[in-house]
Amino acid sequence: MMASKFSYWGNNLYTGKKSYNVVGKRKNFFMVALVAVAIAVLILGVKGLNFGIEFRGGSQFTVTNVDTSSQQVAIDAVNTIIPDEQPRVSTVGSSAIRIQTNVLEPEELIAVRRALMDTYSVTEDDVASASVGPSWGKDVSSKALTGLFVFLVLVMIVMSLYFRAWRMAAAAILALLHDLVLTVGIYALIGWEVTPATVIGLLTILGYSIYDTVVVFDKVRENTEAITEQHLATYSERANLAVNQTLVRSINTSVVALLPVGSILFIGTFILGAGTLRDIALSLFIGMAVGTYSSIFLATPLEVALRLREPVIAQHTKEVLGERAARKAIAEGTAVDANAVVASSTGTIVSGGHLGNRTVPKRKKK
């Protein structure tokens, strides 16, 4: 049974029988993160974000109950009023289209509305119009940035208090910034319009990314409690064990969180077309996926890298490694399998590693 194999795998991860050396190979993951962020910034620089009319300013018409979804009809209708306008037309829902133009004067607005009414032979109620000044989007962006800043400060305080280690908070926030940049980059790559709904999605990622990281860090904290009182495993090994132990949970929670968002994204993309639900779902979907990745592969390695700068932890690591090398030397001298002394990346002694009769001198053949 698949699920049973999955939980068997989870069990091995838990005991340390099987483990992925995420923390030990942290340099590789930092490189991956740096390259990914660089590519995202590059995409933003070259392709840029496709801002919706809420940010550019403009007028928008939504025609409902239309029979044809042909976009040329709408463009022609707009051009009869304003010849050199190049409207953007998209399908919304099952029987509606949306036409976006540059900012129109009130008279033009009414004229275009009438033209659309005639073209699609619908009633006045079926044509909705909207105008957005360019300053509105600016307002949204500046508010979003303020929100981001306030949130980061609050998270820094709450996490520093909860974990009693500011380095944990700092690592979580670095990972969060990584998530944000990557999400915006991927969004730019896909090229959908950036609307206030997108911004909502991005702001929600703030909460989700930290949420995910808190769960992993909670296990790290539990595993590294009284770390200096033993000399079996280093801080980074214990942290790596935490990553492995929470891996199953991380996968399960992100699948469960991505399923509803994915279904909004699916419905939004294939049935509803352009609109709030689609934009919110896309930025959430990317952000959650990236957030799960970073809580496993970036946040904890970052945290370990920061913690190793603490003199106490650094000293402890040195002591453990020193003692282990000494043990290993002794073990090699006595023909014991040196690898059995300690598990590679989690610092746990694997049960069932009994050496049995291997240590007993072999009987000579006759």
Binding site: Y14, V199, L206, I267
Partner: protein, 583 residues
């Protein structure tokens, strides 16, 4: 079974009963609301789902002076006065992010209503020329005005009754201030050089006012204070230098005129009154008489003010000090059909998401997944009830981003169950029996769930208070569902788990229970601590550890062991049982 760790069944079920009582109370309140008040079984919908017009106005000052929250509130009051008087039902006017005003008008508003909303409001100080009862005065009797027609003299100052031309008088007579439509205010800024005819803002009187003497922008500040000497609330105004000078001259002039008490509207020729008026948004808000010439630029208005009314007047004056104009930032009409389609499809998406989550958790956690399903159902009921109740009592409206927030909550709520279940499994792997694993696992999972929900709630609060656009609706549902998640985990999921941990099906780790020992890697005989061994395919037994996971006393252990001897067959790795084991 060891007696120390068995709470009576009712005590364990108590939180669940409490939760169901809460849900019953919630829906009972809504039911009572539908019977005796204006509540309904479905939450009110915001404009993007219901259709209507939303206008976002930005308050702009002449020279970029900062706009205070009081000014925005005052501006909202003015717009509300206009809209309410024009008879548009259920218009929602809110401030947004400190500088913006969002006016949401359901349905299809008329052009006049839209114009009313967009107009800016200004304050003017004008002398009162004539006032009277608010009703329409029947066509003037022929002899009432002839003298004035004889003297079409040009007025010498703004208080000169010569401003009252027959046309003005006719307009005054025709004005009906008892008609709410006349109390909307607005109508653009009145020409400061001409007299005007208007109503008091509460419709109690109507006025003919002379040309403007002092513009509202000459007010430096206004405040309400309690005058201890006279034992009454007063409003103090402080004027700017130019205003001080002009106002000083105006009051010097007014103080020589007939006091209001002795003024006779029927006297011919008409006498000028010592009264001036403060006009906000083309409605008279105050019309005090002038008793002294005020040369220091610090007039004080006294009347029958209470603390509250004095505050209102001071706020109005402060608003007048900062002439705001409203810039339309966005104006959007949303068709009702499109909104309902979005709602339908959004709910379909939510349902699909829910079903997928249920299937996934059943695959991952077998029958334990049913606990997730039950918890999600209770959470859904609680969320629906809370939103409906809030939409009735607080005027909350569900918007499309709000719906997205609810759908997202499915994932976040299920998340905390997974954290909890995984913790229990971890404790089982440590060799605890299910009851102990539930207790210890809960202790640890509780902390994690609280910490992560705090972060989520924090995000929701920050989003809510810095709200822009539809963010507010989203932040609200996100925060609400986070709280509900906590309630469910504490008062439903955990109590259910403690009860289930007692059942044979789960405690023995049935293949379909989600605690299948084989799946958890308990597939070989292993040392489980304190001199005990656990056999292959068996969860740790109850021999030494109680449900709390704590060490038992010797007496308890003996009692437990005796009990096990009686219920032989289960514990085949126990040496005492080996001879009368199964087979």
């Amino acid at each position: 079974m060891a007696t120390t760790n068995t709470k009576p069944k009712t005590r364990r079920a108590r939180p669940i009963i409490g939760l169901f009582v809460l849900i019953l109370v919630l829906f009972g309140a809504i039911f009572a609301g539908t019977k005796w008040s204006d509540a309904s079984w479905t939450p009110n919908l915001a404009l993007d789902l219901e259709g209507g017009t939303q206008i976002i106005l930005q308050a702009v000052t002449a020279n970029d002076e900062p706009v205070s929250a009081e000014d925005i509130n005052q501006a909202i009051e003015i717009i509300r006065q206009r809209v309410d008087s024009s008879g548009v039902a259920e218009t929602e006017i809110t401030s947004q992010g400190g500088k913006n005003i969002v006016v949401a008008i359901p349905g299809k508003p008329s052009q006049e209503t839209l114009n009313l909303v967009r107009e800016s409001a200004q304050m003017q100080f004008r002398p009162v020329l004539f006032f009277g009862a608010p009703q329409v005065i029947p066509a003037p009797t022929p002899e009432a005005t002839p003298e004035q027609e004889d003297t079409p003299a040009t007025p010498v100052n703004s208080s000169d009754p010569a401003w009252i031309t027959p046309e003005v008088m006719a307009e005054f007579d025709a004005l009906d201030c008892t008609d709410p439509a006349k109390l909307t205010g607005g109508g653009g800024v009145a020409d400061p050089l001409l007299p005007m005819v208007t109503c008091q803002d509460d419709g109690a009187r109507k006025f003919i006012l002379g040309p403007m003497d002092v513009p509202g922008s000459e007010i430096k500040r206004a405040s309400s204070t309690f005058d201890t000497q006279r034992g009454m609330w007063v409003v103090n105004i402080e004027l700017k230098p130019t205003g001080t000078q002009v106002f000083s001259e105006v009051t010097k002039r007014l103080v020589t005129y007939t006091p209001v008490e002795y003024w006779n509207p029927d006297a011919r020729p008409l006498e000028p009154i010592n009264m001036f008026s403060m006009v906000l948004d083309n409605l008279v808000i105050q019309a005090p008489g002038v008793n002294d010439a005020i040369t220091n630029g610090m007039p004080q208005i006294s009347g029958n003010y209470t603390n509250e009314t004095a505050n209102v007047v001071a706020n109005q004056l402060n608003f007048g000090a900062l002439p705001l104009t409203f810039e339309v930032q966005s104006e959007e009409t949303i068709s009702a059909t499109l909104g309902s389609e979005q709602l339908q499809k959004g709910m379909l998406a939510g349902l699909i998401g829910l079903v997928l989550v249920v299937i996934y958790s059943l695959i991952q956690y077998r029958l334990l997944g049913l606990v997730t399903v039950a918890s999600l159902i209770v959470a859904a009921a609680l969320t629906y009830g809370a939103i409906t109740l809030l939409s009735w009592t607080q005027g909350y409206r569900l918007s499309l981003p709000g719906v997205a927030g609810v759908i997202l909550a499915v994932g976040i709520t299920a998340d905390s169950f997974i954290v909890y279940f995984e913790r229990i499994r971890d404790e089982l792997r440590e060799g605890r029996n299910l009851e102990g694993a539930v207790t210890v696992g809960w202790d640890r999972a509780k902390r994690t769930i609280i910490a992560s929900d705090t972060v989520n709630f924090l995000a929701a609060i920050v989003l809510y208070f810095l709200a822009v656009g539809g963010v507010r609706g989203f932040a609200f549902t996100l925060g609400l569902t986070t709280l509900i998640d906590l309630v469910i985990v504490f008062f439903f999921t955990h109590p259910i788990m403690t009860i289930l941990a007692k059942t044979k099906f789960f405690a023995e780790g049935h293949k379909w229970s989600g605690f299948d020992p084989e799946g958890l890697g308990l597939d070989r005989t292993r040392y489980v601590g304190r001199g005990r061994i656990s056999g292959a395919g068996e969860p740790a037994t109850k021999t030494a550890n109680g449900a709390s996971g704590k060490r038992l006393t010797i007496a308890e252990r003996k009692a437990a062991q005796e009990e096990q001897n009686l219920t032989a067959g289960l514990l085949n790795e126990n040496p005492i049982n080996s001879k009368d084991g199964d087979r």
